[in-house]
């Protein structure tokens, strides 16, 4: 039986986490290739609906990562993002979305090792929890051909 290969989408900021992920690579630190990274200028730009869209399109897990507070390239983007996530995390939990499937983190450009850990831990966790069938079912209940993973 094929092992479950989770689909993880990572929403990261350009200046810290994306650079950090780059460092992970150049440092030759091995980490799971199950993650698709999407680069944003700043975590402040990450719309909560994007996360829901990722789940609707087949993601089993999500990583959201950016600069540490006080280190935002745009000064306060991550502060706004933090407030948004505090509220969003509560709301989705209330609505029955599995918040264990979303990993929020601060990863700086120098934290190549941390990025590898974040990814590997998230992949391991999602492998343990399993695919996000409930939400996939919700998202695809209205079509036969259009909701298969579109990678």
């Amino acid at each position: 039986m094929q092992e479950f290969e989770p689909k993880i989408v990572a929403f990261v900021c350009n200046w810290c986490t994306y650079a950090g992920a780059d460092l992970t690579g150049t440092s030759r630190i091995k980490y799971s290739s199950d993650v698709k990274i999407i680069r944003f200028p700043c975590t402040g730009r990450i719309d909560f609906m994007l996360l829901m869209k990722a789940f609707a399109n087949g993601a089993d897990g999500i990583i959201v990562s950016g600069c540490h507070p006080n280190d935002c390239h745009y000064t306060s983007g991550n502060f706004h993002a933090r407030r948004r996530w505090i509220v969003f995390e509560k709301l989705i939990d209330f609505m029955g979305i599995d918040k264990r499937r979303i990993c929020f983190s601060w990863v700086s450009a120098a934290e190549g090792a941390k990025w590898a850990d974040i990814v590997n831990n998230t992949v391991a966790k999602i492998k343990e929890i399993g695919p996000y069938e409930d939400y996939k079912k919700l998202a695809s209940s209205f079509s036969e051909i259009s909701q298969e993973s579109h990678e």
Partner: protein, 339 residues
């Protein structure tokens, strides 16, 4: 076909529903969920709520669903794959326990969906639908079927109608050939109506509030009247009235696409929305809620009778019951009638 009259001597119509289900029909009936009663597909007769005045939503959803697939497509290298709707594959279904005003709603719906274009999505589903209505023993202040050419025991639009005539007895009228076909499923538990019961005795009393024909005639001179703005000032412009209405048929087409694959959907729409008539240029011919309210009334009481020879309202009162700000159509039309 002449209406056949039979009697069903039982306190509960459950046995009838059981026969329909056993025959593999998809049965939609009133079901209680919390504070509301709505029409839902049932899997066993015990789910049916027979004693509610009416359901929140109308019966139109079995032939005109709130969201309906038109076509699915997939763009491939040299071609486009489409998954069309198989119009012959709609299931045989029965509406069981709906009201006469629900059944009557299918008459204008049929006219609208078969006027300049034969809408197979509706027509083919309707073809497979048998409507078993239950005449109304009670009515409330929102009901006005008698003002729009209906009544609590009207068989218009129904294939079979049950009227409770006693604790353990129902009059069963088999009205159409479709009704006759379905009645074969429970014919053996019916007996002939030898006493020739007068069903009027068992129907609710719904005093006439106005005359549809009179209002319809008046409306053509009321286009510029200030009554529309006055009546609609409290209207919020939501879609509740249009969506619960048994005769409203407006729909929106939406394409939901996802890199090369997509679905075109047909969704309920409401002329009460401010964006309903917005043009691409930005111009909106119905800028104010009063203009949109006027359109709603005109459409049902004037345009549909004149263009399609049908009444656009069945007097069910659902719009008024569901309206968050009590836009009571019976009250409004009565006021218009007095102008």
């Amino acid at each position: 076909m002449e209406i056949e009259r039979k009697l069903y001597k039982n306190s509960s119509p459950d046995a009838i529903a059981e026969r329909l289900l056993s025959a593999g029909k998809k049965v939609t009936a009133p079901v209680r969920s919390g504070k509301i009663v709505d029409l839902k597909e049932i899997s066993k007769p015990s789910e049916i709520e027979y004693n509610a005045l009416t359901s929140v939503q109308s019966a139109k959803k079995v032939a005109f669903p709130k969201v309906d697939k038109v076509v699915e497509y997939e763009v491939l290298k040299d071609t486009v794959n489409t998954l069309e709707v198989d119009f012959e594959a709609f299931p045989e279904q029965v509406l069981f326990g709906v009201k006469p005003c629900d059944a009557a709603g299918f008459i204008p719906l049929k006219a609208v969906f078969n006027w300049d274009y034969a809408d197979q999505f509706f027509l083919k589903r309707y073809e497979k639908t048998t409507i078993i209505s239950f005449a109304c023993p009670k009515a409330d202040e929102y009901c006005f079927c008698t003002s729009v050419g209906g009544n609590p025991g009207s068989t218009a639009g129904s294939d079979i109608q049950f009227t409770r005539t006693g604790d353990d007895e129902f009059l069963v009228e088999i009205i159409t050939p479709k009704g006759k076909t379905v009645s074969a499923l429970f014919e053996d538990i019916l007996v002939p109506d030898s006493s020739n019961i007068d069903k009027e005795k068992f129907l609710a009393s719904v005093p006439k509030a106005f005359s549809f024909e009179e209002v319809s005639a008046k409306l053509s001179s009321l286009f510029e009247s200030p009554v529309w703005e006055e009546q609609a000032i409290r209207c919020l412009g939501c879609g509740a009235c249009a969506f619960v209405c048994p005769t409203c048929a407006c729909f929106d087409l939406q394409d939901e696409k996802n890199s090369g694959k997509g679905t075109r959907l047909k969704l309920w729409d409401s002329c009460g929305y401010s964006a309903f008539t917005v043009h691409t240029s930005g111009h909106n011919p119905r800028e104010s809620q009063g203009e949109r309210w006027r359109q709603r009334v005109m459409h049902k009481f004037s345009y549909m009778p004149h263009r399609l020879d049908v009444r656009g309202c069945t007097g069910c009162g659902r719009c008024s019951r569901s309206c968050p700000v009590d836009m009571n159509i019976k009250e409004h039309i009565t006021q218009i009638d007095s102008l």
